[in-house]
Amino acid sequence: MEKELKILKYSDLPKMIEKFISQGYPVLAPVHKGKIVEIEYVQSLDSIALDVLLSTQSAKKAAFPKVEKVLEYTMNKAGVVQHPVDPADSKETILFGVRPCDASGFKSLDAIFGEGPSDQFYLSKKEKTTIISFSCPVADEYCFCTSVGGGPGNTAGSDLQFTSVSKDELLVEILTEKGKKASRIFADLLTEANSAIDKTKFIADVKVVFDLDSVVAKTTASFGNAELWLEQSLRCIGCGACAFVCPTCACFDFQDEQDTKKGVRLRLWDSCGFSLFTLHTSGHNPREVQSQRWRQRIMHKFAYMPEQLKVVGCEGCGRCSRACPVDMNIKEHLTAIREQVTV
């Protein structure tokens, strides 16, 4: 649909949230929790952290939660009875106050879960989520969205995008049919916007640090470059912090939990950084050392996904680097690939 522009007063934001909630839409938004910022269900604008650069975790949990039931069953003498779990059993939800990189991060997940037999646990939740992103007035040294095809005002993946254009006013971009539907809920708070308004004046300037095509080509050619991966990953301690805060990481595990009579199968976040991820029962491990696991992380995002799913598995949000206990900086590593590798 053709984009529509409106103006919303900051002072009307609480009313807008109230309207969502009173009309039965749960609202997920960034919330301060001590030093971190979580994405949680909120009841009013008061608890929403709109002043932060980025939430600690990405917004992916709106459609891909860290723990999710995929099977339910009971056991009796005759055997097992499955009680179908409906993947589409979720409510229409507003994901509010996230950043453009969160919104566009869903395109990687859409590709992974949508390819082949589709994963309706993810897809139906995603379909029922209306994303209201806020463009970024500031960025920090970890941000590199503009190097991976995004930007601080990128509207891809957002249904509505808000940009602060003055102390009192937000520019509202209505971008999709879903966004249009959500905007009707607070239509009375919206006024017409001047179509000549230049949004770029109000958003951060994020410098392009590398040419994506070149990084993709060089990463694709680097599988056998053991020295490169070892050099980059020597201080990696093999935790899953990077994967779990990442908006595009989708790897998962299944685990069964049951008592004597009933049980569930849970789908859980997993990470290619863990040594157990690929370990065979025999003891053989195709990715035995951390440098191979780091290679998998980078190549999956910058070589395999571009080729197989036609999408780069990175939004340049820099969350992995901020969360990394040992300061593995992905922007730096990608820049090094561009500089060191020749194809």
Binding site: K66, I237, L268, A323, E332
Partner: protein, 267 residues
């Protein structure tokens, strides 16, 4: 700083070591671990008051060990971790070249474990006053309040295992939480799974934790995990007169029986 650079250059040039584990400049104002493999990289070393990370965990990393003979810039925490690791047969005397970084910025070479032990008895191995205060607060709580406190903290946990990966003492080839026959700890990052994991980990560090704080520093969700293990330091000390990471040949308090062990914890 020049002393450090000169010393490490010499160690690498005369092949005393093949790699030196030290601190370097990280993203923005962060400090990160660097691995100096030749004298041309020595200039990357930094040492400031922000260089507080315990680097001892890297002494056990397979790919680091493979480089060859290791040298390490060890702060007090790292020295204690090394003594604890030695007592658990994870490193041997003479295997690692140890350069100690004192709080005043001076660097001293420790020739052997004995000299490290001699140094460690002279330092304050306690936790900071701020940490003491936080623990006192926890201890003043009722059991129910404490339960609520920790459950609220664990709610944030995403089971990324950064705490375990960052801990120099969490070197088990197959951690209890990774064992699946039987599945002692639920894998899921839900209420039970998070609680079981953190309590199990704390218990396994009782009498072994050298209060370096790496677990809490590593946590991307800002859970004060160090308070869990720190709370176990005092009981181990008063019950068994044991402090972790002081002697390379120490026997582990919780796996040894002495006739005069207090039995007041047995109901």
């Amino acid at each position: 700083m020049n002393d450090l650079i000169k010393k490490v250059t010499q160690l690498l040039d005369d092949k005393t070591i093949n790699v030196f584990i030290g601190y370097g400049q990280g993203t923005a104002s962060r400090i990160r671990t660097i691995f100096v493999k030749n004298s041309s990289q020595v200039e990357n070393l930094v040492y400031t008051s922000d260089c507080t990370a315990n680097l001892a965990g890297y002494l056990l990393k397979h790919e680091v060990k493979k480089i060859g003979k290791l040298g390490i810039l060890a702060n007090d925490s790292a020295l204690r971790s090394m003594m604890q690791l030695a007592s658990e047969f994870q490193i041997k005397d003479g295997e690692v070249y140890v350069l100690h970084a004192a709080k005043d910025g001076s660097f001293t070479e420790f020739a052997d474990f004995q000299s490290i032990e001699a140094y460690l008895v002279t330092i304050d191995t306690g936790i900071t006053s701020d940490e003491q205060e936080r623990i006192a607060k926890l201890e003043a709580m009722t059991v129910k309040e404490r339960w609520i406190f920790w459950n609220k903290e664990f709610e944030k946990c995403i089971k990324c295992y950064a705490c375990r990966a960052a801990c120099p003492m969490c070197y088990c080839h197959r951690c209890t939480t990774d064992v699946n026959q039987p599945q002692w700890i639920p894998v899921a990052s839900h209420e039970q799974g998070n609680l079981d994991y953190h309590l199990m980990r704390a218990m396994h560090l009782a009498g072994r934790c050298v209060n370096c704080g790496e677990c809490a520093n590593a946590c991307p969700m800002d859970i004060p995990l160090n308070l869990l293990t720190y709370q176990l330091i005092a009981p181990i000390r008063t019950t068994f007169d044991a402090t972790a990471g002081m002697k390379a040949d120490a026997v582990y308090a919780l796996s040894t029986f002495k006739p005069d062990d207090k039995e007041n914890f047995i109901i």
